[in-house]
């Protein structure tokens, strides 16, 4: 048996694909032509902001409270402007809940940090033979590549550790920035534009020589990434990272309180990240991930939530939702809130909650999806999904794809030729899109 015949895709084929995507990087004059109408166009552009709750948030204390159960804990539910109740420690969000919905019937299978992170980001369970792209990379590939006027990366991750673009290639990997928005090394310093041009001409000559020497795909991939880096360095869109250009009231609203010790000091990192996300989306970035950690609450869950996590979360979500709405962008920008899993309904001896994937909630809204709904439900103690249908990450991402106009029958091919359905073949959630 010839091991090499199993591949449906030759190396040449793959390189051809890479070359095609490289060609989509626009020429400068084309950009300036498009720029004229860009501001208005961008407002209508579809985007997704993923609020990633690193560590696994206790959705039972936030979105799906069980006040009558021994698992319910200390918090009480409150009514919202939507048709559902949420935690009393989310009052600002409650006031905008008519725009947001909660999928209360998530049932995922990975309760390990690394595996859960992979599964929720990619819709696929980890597999040693292939690395699946995070959904942000899929959006970069499907949507970002088509935005000719986008000069900064199409998938930007704020404050997080990143995820792999898998077989879609490094040009679709998340661009990592921290909440300060400072981009290291993007400024060529004393090297003026002409001189940079000269350097890039020389670089192009050396790189092309290596690519022609025919040693595999890595040479071309390197060149593609450099082209993206150069686009970014030269771009006016870099302004989007500078949240210091925002008014103090706006920053305060996102942070939930007057910023301590100047705008970049004190708390409110989550709020600042969301504000940056809004600016990026306005500039045409189709996928922004905002990392908000500190949810691995094996102990002392209620105190931590009440005093630290929830006030920041509440302010951030509410401010972002209102801000997008005011700017007429909420119908085009999908908001997704999730972590790698949630936490046990049962409260442990340390007044904490442990890892739990069986029955939990994901929040989703904007993008023209229906707001104010609770999709599915869990039983009285929160231990299992009691509605007829439970949901997987693929269903969430299929819903996002639907909202963003990415066809659900899109299929990508892994490098070994295996067809991979968008969002692992998940289906858009009818109640939200119907």
């Amino acid at each position: 048996m010839n091991l090499f015949t199993s591949s449906g895709m030759s190396r040449r084929h793959f390189m051809g694909h890479l070359a095609a995507s490289a060609a989509t990087i626009p020429a400068l004059n084309f950009i300036s032509h498009v720029k004229a109408n860009a501001a208005e166009l961008k407002k209508k552009q579809k985007a997704c902001i993923l609020m990633w709750m690193s560590g696994g948030p206790p959705s039972i204390d936030i979105w799906d409270l069980k006040p009558d159960s021994k698992n319910g804990g200390e918090f009480k539910p409150i009514s919202t402007k939507g048709n559902l109740q949420i935690s009393e420690h989310m009052p600002k969000t409650a006031a905008v809940m008519d725009n947001l919905s909660v999928i209360r019937a998530m049932s995922t299978r990975e309760a390990d940090h690394g595996r859960g992170r992979y599964y929720m980001h990619t819709s696929y369970i980890p597999n040693p033979t292939v690395v699946h792209p995070a959904f942000g990379s899929v959006v970069s590939y499907e949507v970002g590549s088509k935005r000719k006027d986008l000069e900064i990366p199409a998938f930007i991750s704020i404050g997080g550790g990143g995820s792999s673009p898998g077989f879609l290639g490094m040009t679709h990997s998340p661009f990592l920035v921290d909440a300060s928005g400072r981009i290291n090394n993007a400024d060529p310093g004393d090297v003026g534009p002409d001189r940079m041009e000269q350097r890039l001409r020389m670089l192009g000559s050396v790189e092309d020589g290596f690519i022609r020497s025919d040693r595999g795909e890595s040479g071309q991939a390197h060149k593609d990434v450099y082209l993206k880096a150069v686009n970014l360095m030269r771009s006016k869109q870099m302004e989007a990272f500078k949240i210091e250009q925002e008014k103090k009231e706006v920053v305060d609203a996102y942070s939930g309180a007057p910023a301590q010790g100047g705008m970049m000091g004190g708390g409110g990192q989550f709020g600042r990240s969301l504000l940056m996300a809004r600016r990026l989306v306005e500039s045409g970035v189709p996928f922004v991930e905002v990392d908000f950690g500190g949810w691995d609450l094996h102990a002392n869950v209620f105190e931590t939530l009440k005093n630290q996590r929830l006030p920041a979360l509440d302010a951030g979500i509410a401010a972002l939702t209102s801000d997008l709405k005011q700017r007429g962008m909420l119908n085009d920008v999908v908001l997704v809130w999730m972590g790698e899993f949630a936490r046990t309904p049962r409260i442990n001896q340390d007044v904490g909650r442990d890892h739990w994937a069986n029955s939990w909630s994901v929040m989703i809204g904007g993008g023209g999806l229906k707001g104010g709904l609770a999709i599915g439900e869990t039983d009285k103690d929160g231990l299992s999904v009691s509605s007829p249908k439970s949901y997987q990450p693929g269903d969430v991402w299929a819903t996002v794809a639907h909202a963003m106009g990415i066809p659900l029958d899109t299929v990508h091919k892994s490098k070994n030729g295996r067809p991979m359905k968008l969002a692992n073949g998940g289906t858009a959630i009818q109640e939200l899109v119907g």
Partner: protein
Amino acid sequence: MNLELRSPTELETLLEALCEDRLAPADAARLERMVLSSPEARWRYLTYMDLHGTLFWDAAGAGSPEPLSSHELPVHEWPSHENVVIHGSSIRDLPAVAAGVAAFRQPASRHAPRPHALTLTSISACVAIVALVAWNLSGPAKPSQVVVREGRPLPVADANEATGDAGTTGDAGTKGVLRTYGPPIVIADAVAVETDAPSVETDSLRTIAGGQLPTVIPVSSHEVVARIDSEIRSRWEELGLQPSVKADDAEWLRRISLDLLGRVPAVAEAESFFADSSADKRETLIERLLDDPEYVRNFTTKWTNLLLGRSSNPLVNRDAFRKFLRLSFAANRPWNRLVADLVSAEGNNSENGATNFLIAHLNNDAAPATAVASRLFLARQVHCNQCHNNPFDETKQIAFWELNSFFQQTTCVPRQRRDPGTGRVLQSFTELVTRDAGGPTYFETQTGLMRVAYPRFGGREIDPSPDTNRRHELARLMTDGEQPQLAAAFVNRMWEHFLGCGFTRDVNDLGPHQPASHPELLAVLSEQFIRSGYDIKQLIRWICQSEPYQLTSRFAESNQNDDPPLGELPAFSRMYVKSMTAEQTYDSLLTATKAHRVGAADWMQAEQNRQQWLQQFIVASNNDDNDETMAFDGSIGNALSLMNGPLIERALDTSAGSFLGEVIRQKSTEAEKIRSLCLATLSRPPSPTEFSTMRKLVRDGSSNRGAKGQPVEAYQDLFWALLNSNEFASIH
């Protein structure tokens, strides 16, 4: 036709598709035929379905009425034992499983990591130390007592049982718990005990791994290399492909310098290699590089990253660990002994650097230590077995906890050495301590049953009593004599280091479900490695002298599909291109540019600069698995750093001492200057076409000239382009 090799993968692929509900009808028919064809396939089908059914319903909790939490164990129904001593509040009735057996750990479950692990992720080193002290609450148990560790830090007021070690305190002691039940470890005075002798030569260790090495039967290097070549060739013939041609001197020299020394060759090294016309110059160079101190540094870097990770940890003394590895690699310490050193190390982590391996991974019930040791030394992925049986592997969940049980006597304690007169802190360190505790390790199955595991390795159980030093026993069982798994794991990893691809897709996994590209060759090399006395340098010689290592990375006419990144198993009919690691990039940049001479920093400063540069790419995950991301991965952020970062700015400096400045100022022609820049970066002269392009670009370039009219900026720009190129970033 090699069905044995293919079947498990295909079966797994189909089963996976079935479980993920994307099995096409044709695949279903194929799966059915396969399952019906052999008892082995039926067994795999059953175990796979059993596991995934269980995982889906049970791991996520749907099948059980209660969540899987260690705090909800069925132990309440068990009779309590009169000798039970509990330092805690909520687990009241943990049973003694056998009279006179001391249990010393709380039942573990992945769903219930300890609070200490959570605390450890805090950015504050101070908090981490408090947490670790808390975590070490249970000292050596008195025989016949069961001591249950308290998971939650107690308030200080509760800690009146603390022994208050004279002269020894945790530096955050006033804020949190400081309670040890161990004998006070008193460091009487401040006499420095720092010694240069490697701790690895202590008596206890000599008895562990020194005892029964297999008789060394000298097999000539030539014979082993010939065997590698014949195995590799026969696979080419099976696949009907012709290998690429031999790499020229420049390509090979660059490759071996990067693989052995971790950096590109310097210009002078390249020139002298090209000028050498002797037939055996490659062999001679391999010998010379193996004796080079940079070989030691390179492998120290590689193994420090593998064994400790790249993130910093306040309890770990990285420098001491590097020193331990340096001494070991410099002395070419046999691999099995080196592993024994790591597994059985004890004491002060600044004096015995080897202790830092376990200190880095003892958190979370030593689950990381178990998983990392198994992965790196044995190439077995057991982290999944922490929670469930592995369907593709004969290893079971209990095997994880049996291995874990060997680490359960071990704890680490932050200490300080004080001057007895002034009370001034002279040294802070971590001590790796073995407590004389015994008994089983508890774990929880998928169905919520509590089970016990006793220390057992490779089918051999050891005496679980407190008198046994379990890690000494583990070192013996894992490394003494003929250890095919230990050898194969190392051989596979080294093969990957040099050839760019291991025999299995993942060098961390040699489990039975992983098809190997050349199973015979792996077995032969492992056997020879054992017979050589686990001689690391000898293994390197064999690999570097073999035919596949001599080949070019260019494709040939008939091996177009030999490209593992596309998912194929490697045939090694060409060299696969590797990307430089962050460390190789940094060290190569310094070699090529002599940037470190600019500003004339001392060695310590140089090392600090290196660490600082590397740190920008490291992102630690904040959870209890000790995960981290190395973001030096060819992304846009990396490109920006190399295009505009301070390092490249120093590299382009033309002041005295810099390579570029010397090239520009030396009395040489334009052609010679361009050649020097190419040699320094790409380790080869430019081709005639490249040369004319470069010369044109230099002439057209900036008009800013040096004192003698040289186009300084133009050369800087060319050098910048070479250093940023895909070719520079590749090991090919």
